[in-house]
Amino acid sequence: MTFKLFTLLLQAAVSTIGISLVSIAIGFVIAILLSAATLSGKTIYSAPARLFVSFFRGVPLLVQLLLIYTLLPAIGLNVPSIVAAIIGLSLCTAAYQAENLRGGFSSVPKGLIEAAEVTGFNPLQIFARIQVPIALRLTLPTLVNESIMILKASSLVSVVGIIELTKMAQDLASSTYQPIPIFLSAGLVYFVICSTIALLGRYAERSMARTSA
Amino acid sequence: MTLPAIIIRNLVKRFGETTVLQDINLEIPEGKVSCLIGPSGSGKSTLLRCLAFLEESTSGMITINGEALGFFEKPDGKRERLPPAQIRAVRAQTGMVFQQFNLWPHMTALGNVSEALKIVRKLSKADAEEKAMAQLRKVGLENRAGHYPSQLSGGQQQRVAIARALALEPKIMLFDEATSALDPELTGEVLKVMRDLADEGMTMVVVTHEIGFAATVGQQISFLDHGKLLFSGPPSEVFAKPRHPRLDQFLDTYLDRGASMLI
């Protein structure tokens, strides 16, 4: 295990972080829409949203990736595999984040919404100015956990041939016949990234706790 | 004149740098109700927890019915910890009732009361449950024996907790703010059980904010402030005017209207 091999792993880790960040961000936007649909109280919106969440939480991510990877070309969408991978990760994390957000939204005290109503806010204003900020604070810890989960889960996109940390480690391990140091190093890199996310999350929680009552 | 049920000598308790109890000396008479009162943070709960050996004192001695609790004093004045079995034997003389009831949620009321009879006293299941049932009857809850704590009101839970402590037939009952966690309308049923116990002649040490209870049921009132026992005596003396200025101040803040009429 040379320093050169380790730098290759670090470079690949940048892809891992990039793929994860993009997926979490896209997933977050979808999750907001999903949780709004679920909480809308109208079956026409909430039923498909529930089905989506149930499916993507009920099927292994690996199977989801294989499905999207096969399905897209079959319906005539020939996208690069990195796009397919990001779509897969985004949809999966969207389902989990939607569940977390739903929990956050339903924990927003009713009194705060009533207070906004009597002050003359319209429903959209209440949603955007009261419910969203409070729900976000309540779900921050779960969002941090979810980011860590996705970062680890992104190792699965190696299966569809995307060069990220796991794929790089796999290739290096087979070409150098040194699987132990290489997989240990890859594990270490993942561990450091995950710990950093956890640390940042705790820091964010603390600074939020200071600004809220 | 019988021996005091509890003798506390030069008791000191420190948590790190802070001294919570400073040189407490108190004798608690047998068959009497002794109330510990004082503002929050005065050390009254810590003192009670020392009597239950839930806190270990830093120095000093506690004797329960003539037996040293936790530590024994060697002739040179140094303390030595007693063996666990001996500590358990002395602790068995006291029963403890907590502010938060502390019923075990995975057992029914009957289970809570009979558990220690089974595994500490080694009674058969049938005997333990029969004894437990008798205690539940005593606190008026025999028809709730099969209920889990979550299915009982706060007052009922506390009565079960009292029955649980009584089941082991302690000679002394310790109450740590037994009614503080209860809604006001539920304190009555618990105080009634405590009054009945007092009428039976049970030795009781009661940490309480219920000054009315202390004044009417208590036979010895001890006032603690900032970890010091300021004074102790019968209610007629302690509450009589002119009062100690700290007690006056305390009563001003804590006394409710009902209780002020009693004093």
């Binding site: 690996l62 199977v63 680890k152 699965l156 594990g187 | 050996f53 358990r88 649980r164």
Partner: protein
Amino acid sequence: MMFNPQVIIEKLPELGSGLFVTLLLWIAGIAGGVVIGFLVATARRFGGFATNAVLGSVVEVLRGTPFLIQIFLLYYGGPFVGLMLDPIPCGLIGLTVYSAAYYSEIFRAGFAAVPVGHVEAAGCLGMTRLQTIRRIQIPEMALIVLPPAVNLSVILLKESAVLSIITVPELTATVSAIGSQQYAYLEAIFILAVVYWALVELTDRLGRAAEYRLSRLRFSKA
């Protein structure tokens, strides 16, 4: 686009064997993970500072790295240290160790969630340390950990699909092989997804039913 699930339905026995391996690994992984996780949590809680620190670091590393990397390390790295494992035992060991780390955290949180007062009450009633652990702390913890343990078990079912990558003949591996042979890969993966979905929903419902039955034992808001 052609969609012909018929070609997969013909291969039901093979699908069944894959399902069997998945369920076997899953249940064995849960059983092993629960036992080891419980022992780890107990050792961490009652075993002193050093034990807690060492086991805590191991758990953190296992939780902070992808399952796939752990499996690769075991499967490809094992032979270099004399650990030649077939895919199934390798998968079973990997899944057990991985799940043990997560179960141990659940149990640890469970122990911490048992109110101190409940333990104190046992002490006041003359119970020894061991009696208190056995009769009060462990049963109370079991109640607290049931919901997260059910969730984790569901996650493990899904995680076991990863074992197909090291050629464990479980559900995912079997069904994608059928799909390739029959030139019906999309159909195969679709059916695969539905089977997992059904299993997960079923497990989830069973778990919730169990939680509901035990809900009266939960803590009252004293």
